[in-house]
Amino acid sequence: MIRICLALVAFALLARLPVGFDVGFQFDAALAVIWGFGLLSLVLLTGYVGQVSLCQATFAGVGAYAAGMMFSTFHVDYGVAIAVGVLAAFTLGLVVGLPALRLYGITLAIVTLGIALVFDRYVFQDHIFEWFTGGSGGWRVEGATLFGLRMDSSRHLLAAYLVLLVLFCLVGLLMVNLHESGAGRRFRAIRDSELAAATVGVNLTRYKLLAFGLSAAIAGLGGSFYPLVAGSVSPQPFWVFTSLQFAAIVVLMGVRYVPAAALGGAFMSFVPDVLTRFGHGTLFNRYSYDISYDWFQIAVGVLLIVQLILLPDGVWGDLRGRVVNARSAMRGFASRRVKVA
């Protein structure tokens, strides 16, 4: 119950936030939730099940292209397009999960990096796959009506943002519940030791495949909104470096926590845009500076290194730990006072 309340409070706080800002920032807000879904998929896969993946942006990209293709080629309702996008990502997740049945740790990282590269350089860019990617121009989505709400990439951006936010809160809530459920216990058993989990009768094949499929579906759900929010799809947002950034940022923020994904999504979407917009000028009328997108990625890399050396549980995990410690310390202090009295 308290979780549902927290999710509602989070939604209420975030829902009206981008109102009144220009289109650029409204796009950032929607993009933040889309990237948030990508990070959330890693919270499930890495944080809960302990599987490494460097191809989550690929899943999001497949969701985006599948939704774009359904909407542009077959002129279906955008809701159907999203369902197809999620299904396509889920299927690819199962396929990627197959080699993962025999692999773990760094070998899995190598394979998923290879998959991300194949999709980035080959599937999303080669003319053989034009039926899927819409050629070099990509699919254009002028606008659509979803749940009776008019959405497009300019004047009606906030409608898409609201729907994305509702879905994000819902999926986040489901994930926290999953963590406590029977399946979640099996996932955690796999994370802690595959051998021990198999010994106590966890069906490794089923639960590893399920984890990859669900994780890919979550990333694909976010991705399938991308054509609607951005107006078109291109390979660049889903290239291999986005996958690497997903992995870096989710670890940086705290790979085991759902709110860390939201935090990371906002970080990944707003910081580069703010930097490119306001990061140039002249200091004291003398020193001109120009902080571009590249500085963001440098910061991500350096912060990740520092965090892994100093705060292994991530930014959110560390803050959470401090709050929990402070609360238990205060409780201990209070009980001592009671004893003295």
Binding site: V52, L54, P99, R102, L103, Y104, G105, I106, T107, A109, I110, V111, L113, G114, I115, L117, V118, R121, Y122, V123, Q125, D126, I128, V240, F241, L244, Q245, A247, A248, V251, S292, Y293, D294, W295, F296, Q297, I298, V300, G301, V302, L303, L304, I305, L308, I309, P312
Partner: protein, 297 residues
């Protein structure tokens, strides 16, 4: 037939670079337990240092060979310092952490190096390649021109591989490195300077990556991303060698180079070689027991 020979030469040049890059990965992995995803990025950065010195700060009065030599030596020195810095500032502090955590840290290194290079040298800009041997030098064998750079790259890669093997086998420091790769704990009990071995491995690996990067520039799209992303081919070659065997790694590199090049006779696609690399990685991992990978530290 002539086309086939020409493609063989391209494949061998590519394969030589894959083997070199893979050698550095295996070396670092065996002695420090770090699977270095940033290996391509490190080679890329050092290569651009050479490019900057060669084209950016060229001295028109100097003879050509001297300019090349200065650029290459500067890049090698830079690469050694970069490797030393990474070991001292980052990886020394995470020696006891699980291999996956170390691998994720190298992703941080990759992102930082990649965007720093893109900041300095621009991501999609065209860069003139660095020709170690003058561009015009070539021989014609059976109607197929063989450029001196293609020969050089194969010779250098085989030479460095042999030199590295001899260094590991016949010098006392090489013996220390092999001891650490077998077991860091017992090596340190025998008085082997484990920290020094790690530092030297990082420097050697980084220098080899720089050499590989400089040699490959005439044969690929010379920009920041494509050099960084050579990592997947290098990892494939390293996996063929089981992350342990240096000779198998070299053979694997050449085999992968040929495998990636021959399909381009029929398939005109820049992305298709990536698919070949992925298939090779999957095949190696599924045929070999993946749990058989030896993990140092």
């Amino acid at each position: 037939m002539a086309a086939f020979t020409a493609y063989t030469i391209i494949g061998l040049s590519l394969g030589a670079v894959f083997s070199l890059a893979a050698l550095g990965i295996v070396l670092i992995y065996r002695t420090t337990g770090v699977l270095n995803f940033a290996h391509g990025a490190m080679g890329m950065f050092s290569t651009f240092v050479a490019w900057q010195i060669f084209y950016g700060w060229s001295h028109p009065g100097w003879p050509g060979w001297l300019q090349v030599a200065v650029a290459v030596v500067a890049a090698i020195v830079f690469a050694a310092l970069l490797g030393l810095f990474l070991e001292l500032a980052v990886f020394r502090w995470v020696r006891t952490r699980p291999p996956v955590v170390k691998a994720v840290i190298t992703i941080g290194v990759l992102l930082a190096l990649q965007s720093a290079a893109s900041l300095i040298w621009k991501n999609n800009a065209y860069h003139l390649p660095i020709y170690i041997a003058p561009q015009g030098w070539s021989w014609t064998v059976a109607d197929v021109p063989i450029s001196a750079n293609a020969v050089l790259i194969v010779v250098v890669s085989l030479g460095l591989a042999l030199g590295l093997a001899a260094f590991l086998r016949y010098t006392s420091f090489g013996r220390s490195m092999r001891a650490v790769s077998d077991s860091p704990t017992s090596a340190s009990l025998w008085g082997v300077p484990v920290g020094k071995v790690g530092a030297v491995s990082w420097m050697l690996g980084s220098v080899i990556a720089a050499v590989a990067g400089i040699l490959i520039t005439p044969f690929i799209n010379f920009d920041t991303t494509s050099l960084t992303l050579l990592i997947i081919d290098a990892l494939a070659a390293a996996l063929i060698g089981g992350m342990t065997s240096l000779p198998l790694t070299v053979v694997g590199g050449f085999a992968l180079g040929l495998l990636e090049t021959y399909p381009t006779i029929w398939i005109q696609s820049i992305g298709f070689p990536r698919l070949v690399a992925l298939v090779v990685i999957l095949a190696v991992l599924i045929v070999r027991n993946p749990r058989g990978l030896r993990v140092a530290a």
